[in-house]
C-alpha cells in the first residue's frame, strides 16, 4: 500500500489563451495536512478540480492512491467553495449532509435510517446537530460552511480536498474546523486545503504548496514557507512570518 495519497506531476490546465495552471506538481503523503496558497487566479481551485476530473487537463499525470481518480472516487471527499451552490434550494441541513453518502449508495438506492444516523453524527461532529431540520438559507455563512464540511466527513474518505473551508467563518468556527481537520490528519487521512491567510500557515499546516500558475515551492512548512518563496509566489514584498496584507 502506497503512503502517497495524491500525486500530481506536471499538471497543465488551459481554458483559453493563457494557462490557468502550468506544469504544477504536488505530492501529498497520508497523515498530513497541506495548505495550498497563492494569489487570486493562481489556479488553486483549478488544481483541486483537475484532481476531481471537473476540468480537462492539457498535460500531466494525476494519481490518487496510486490509481486514477475514477477508480478511487469513493475514497475522496470534496468540499467546494460555499458560493458554488444555491443556498435557497428547498432542502435542510440533514439532507445536504446525506448527499455526501449518495456516492456510496450509487444509482437508485435511497438513503435510509442507517444513512440518517451517519449524517446526524457528522452534524454532531461539526457542532450543528441543533440545526438538523433548518432550511439551509436560514443558516449563517459559518454554519453553511460546517454543513459542507459535515457532508464531506460523512463520506469517511481517505483524502479530503477542501476549497477555502474557512472563508467567511468567525474565529470560533475557524478553530472548530481546524480541530476537525487535524483530527482527520491524526487518523491517517490526507487533507488538502486551499487557504488565504498567510499568518496562520505555520499553525495550521504540516506542508504547503505555494502556487502561482506554477508550483513555486512545495514541501514541509518549515523548509518551504520562507519569505523568499512567499515573495516569489505573490510577486510583491510579502513575508511568511508576518501579516499578509
Amino acid at each position: 500500500m502506497t503512503d502517497v495519497a495524491l500525486d500530481i506531476q506536471g499538471c497543465t490546465v488551459a481554458y483559453h489563451d493563457t494557462p490557468v495552471l502550468w506544469d504544477a506538481s504536488l505530492t501529498v503523503p497520508r497523515g498530513t495536512i497541506t495548505g495550498v496558497l497563492g494569489p487570486n487566479g493562481a489556479g488553486k481551485t483549478t488544481l483541486l478540480k483537475a484532481v476531481l476530473g471537473l476540468v480537462p487537463v492539457a498535460s500531466g499525470r494525476i494519481q490518487v492512491f496510486g490509481d486514477t481518480y475514477a477508480a478511487q472516487q469513493d475514497r475522496v471527499g470534496y468540499v467546494p467553495q460555499r458560493g458554488s451552490v444555491d443556498w435557497d434550494f428547498p432542502t435542510n441541513a440533514l439532507d445536504v449532509v446525506l448527499m455526501g453518502l449518495y456516492g456510496q449508495l450509487g444509482w437508485f438506492r435511497r438513503p435510509g435510517a442507517h444513512e440518517n444516523e451517519q449524517a446526524r453524527q457528522a452534524l454532531r461532529d461539526v457542532g450543528m446537530l441543533d440545526y438538523t431540520d433548518r432550511q439551509i438559507s436560514q443558516l449563517s455563512g459559518g454554519q453553511q460552511q460546517r454543513v459542507f464540511l459535515a457532508r464531506a466527513l460523512v463520506q469517511d474518505a481517505d483524502l479530503y480536498l477542501m476549497d477555502e473551508p474557512l472563508q467567511g467563518v468567525d474565529a470560533t468556527t475557524e478553530r472548530t474546523i481546524m480541530q476537525l481537520l487535524h483530527n482527520l490528519r491524526d487518523a491517517g487521512k490526507a487533507v488538502v486545503v486551499v487557504h488565504h491567510d498567510l499568518h496562520t500557515v505555520a499553525d495550521y499546516f504540516d506542508r504547503v504548496l505555494l502556487l502561482n500558475k506554477r508550483a513555486v515551492a512545495s514541501g514541509p512548512v518549515a523548509s518551504v514557507f520562507t519569505d523568499a518563496n512567499v515573495s516569489a509566489t505573490y510577486g510583491t514584498e510579502m513575508r511568511a512570518s508576518t501579516e499578509a496584507h
Partner: protein, 369 residues
C-alpha cells in the same frame, strides 16, 4: 364520461405532466428554456407532420422533441463561447427555429389542420372529438392517452432518479465527482421537457405549456422548503388550475387553456403576497415587528440608563430625534404603544421605565453583549 369531464381530466393530467419536470426547470433557473423549447418544436412538428401525415404519431412527437433538445444544445453552445449571455442566446435561437416552422407551415402544410394559432393556443374544448378506438371500441380521447403516457413517463423518471436529480440540481460539481454524470441527467430532463411540450401543445398550446411548467413550481416554492413537498404541491396546483380554470372558462364562455393560465397567474400573485412565511405581507409584518421591538428595547435601555438625563414628556420628540434619529410621529406612536403596554410610564412629567420596561432594557443589553 361526459365530454366536460373528459376535458377537465385531460387538462388536469396535462397540468401535472408539465408541473413535474417544471419543478426542476425552475430550481435550475431554466424556466425560460421551457419557453424556448415550446416554440422551437414547431419546425419539428411541421416536418414530422409532413412525413407521418398525423399529429398524433409517436414519430412526430420524437422528431419534434429532438428539435427541443437541439434548442437546448444550441443555446448552451452559443453561451459556451463566452461571447453571448444565456438570455440573449435563448432570444437568438428559438425565434429562428420557430420562424423556420412558420415558413414551412405556410409553404408546405397550409392545406391541413395545423396552423400557427392552433400551435400557440391549442384548444382543450376539441379534445373529446379526437378519440382513440381499438377494434371498434371507444377508448376515450386520444389526448388523454398521450398525456397520460407522458405523465407516467415523467413521474417514473422523477421517482427513479429523484436523488440523482436533486443532487445534480443543488450541486452539479459534487454530483460529477461522485460519478453521477449530471450532464446526461440534464439532457434526459430536457428531452422529457421537450416530449411534454410537444405532446401538450395540441391540447393546450405552446404558451400555456410554459405557464403549466413554471407557475406551479414557482408558486409551490413560496409555500414549502422541502423539495419533495414542492413537487407534490406543484402537481396539486396543476390539478387546481385545471378545475378552477375550466369552471372559469365555462362561466365566461372563454378559452379553457387561457382561463387555466389566468388562474395560474392569479394564484401565484396571491401566494407572492400572502404566503405564510415568504409572502410579501409576512415579510413586511416581520420587518415591522422587528423594527417596533428594537425601537422599544432601545428606548427602554435609554430610559433605564442612570447616566441619561431626565426626559420630560414634552421634550421627548426632540430628545429622541437627537439621540436615535426618530421622526416625531414614530416617537409619539412608540411612547403611546409602550405606555399602553405598561412598559414605560410618566412620573411627574418625565418618562420612566416600569418594572416590565426594565426587563426590556435588559434584553437590549444582551444585543450589545
Amino acid at each position: 364520461m361526459s365530454p366536460q369531464a373528459e376535458v377537465q381530466l385531460v387538462a388536469a393530467v396535462t397540468a401535472v405532466a408539465c408541473a413535474l419536470p417544471g419543478a426542476f426547470l425552475v430550481l435550475r433557473r431554466l424556466s425560460m428554456m421551457s419557453d424556448a423549447i415550446s416554440h422551437a418544436i414547431l419546425p419539428g412538428i411541421v416536418v414530422g407532420f409532413m412525413l407521418t401525415e398525423s399529429l398524433a404519431s409517436p414519430l412526430l412527437i420524437a422528431g419534434a422533441a429532438a428539435t427541443g433538445v437541439l434548442t437546448v444544445v444550441l443555446v448552451e453552445r452559443i453561451e459556451g463561447t463566452g461571447l453571448v449571455r444565456e438570455d440573449a442566446a435563448i432570444g437568438l435561437v428559438f425565434p429562428v427555429l420557430f420562424s423556420i416552422g412558420v415558413v414551412l407551415l405556410a409553404r408546405y402544410a397550409s392545406d391541413v389542420h395545423l396552423d400557427v394559432d392552433a400551435v400557440l393556443l391549442g384548444e382543450l374544448a376539441f379534445v373529446p372529438f379526437d378519440r382513440l378506438e381499438w377494434g371498434g371500441i371507444d377508448l376515450g380521447p386520444r389526448a388523454l392517452w398521450v398525456m397520460g403516457t407522458v405523465l407516467l413517463l415523467n413521474a417514473a423518471f422523477l421517482t427513479a432518479f429523484y436523488k440523482e436529480l436533486k443532487l445534480s440540481t443543488f450541486d452539479a460539481q459534487l454530483a460529477a465527482t461522485l460519478g453521477f454524470i449530471p450532464g446526461v441527467l440534464h439532457y434526459v430532463l430536457m428531452s422529457l421537457v421537450s416530449v411534454t411540450a410537444v405532446s401538450a401543445f395540441d391540447a393546450v398550446g405552446s404558451i400555456l405549456v410554459v405557464a403549466l411548467m413554471v407557475a406551479p413550481p414557482a408558486t409551490a416554492y413560496l409555500l414549502t422548503d422541502r423539495l419533495d413537498r414542492m413537487i407534490v404541491l406543484s402537481a396539486g396546483l396543476g390539478v387546481g388550475y385545471a378545475l378552477v380554470g375550466y369552471a372559469g372558462a365555462a362561466a365566461l364562455d372563454a378559452s379553457i387553456a387561457g382561463s387555466m393560465a389566468t388562474v395560474a397567474g392569479l394564484l401565484f400573485g396571491v401566494t407572492l403576497v400572502a404566503a405564510p412565511e415568504r409572502g410579501l405581507v409576512a415579510t413586511w409584518r416581520r420587518q415591522h415587528r422587528h423594527t417596533a421591538r428594537f425601537s422599544a428595547q432601545l428606548l427602554a435601555a435609554y430610559l433605564a440608563n442612570p447616566s441619561t438625563p431626565p426626559v420630560p414628556l414634552s421634550e421627548a420628540s426632540n430628545r429622541l430625534h437627537d439621540r436615535f434619529g426618530w421622526l416625531p410621529s414614530h416617537t409619539q406612536a412608540l411612547i403611546s404603544d409602550l405606555r399602553d403596554q405598561d412598559l414605560i410610564t410618566v412620573r411627574s412629567g418625565h418618562l420612566a421605565c416600569t418594572e416590565a420596561g426594565q426587563q426590556l432594557a435588559d434584553e437590549a443589553a444582551q444585543h450589545a453583549a
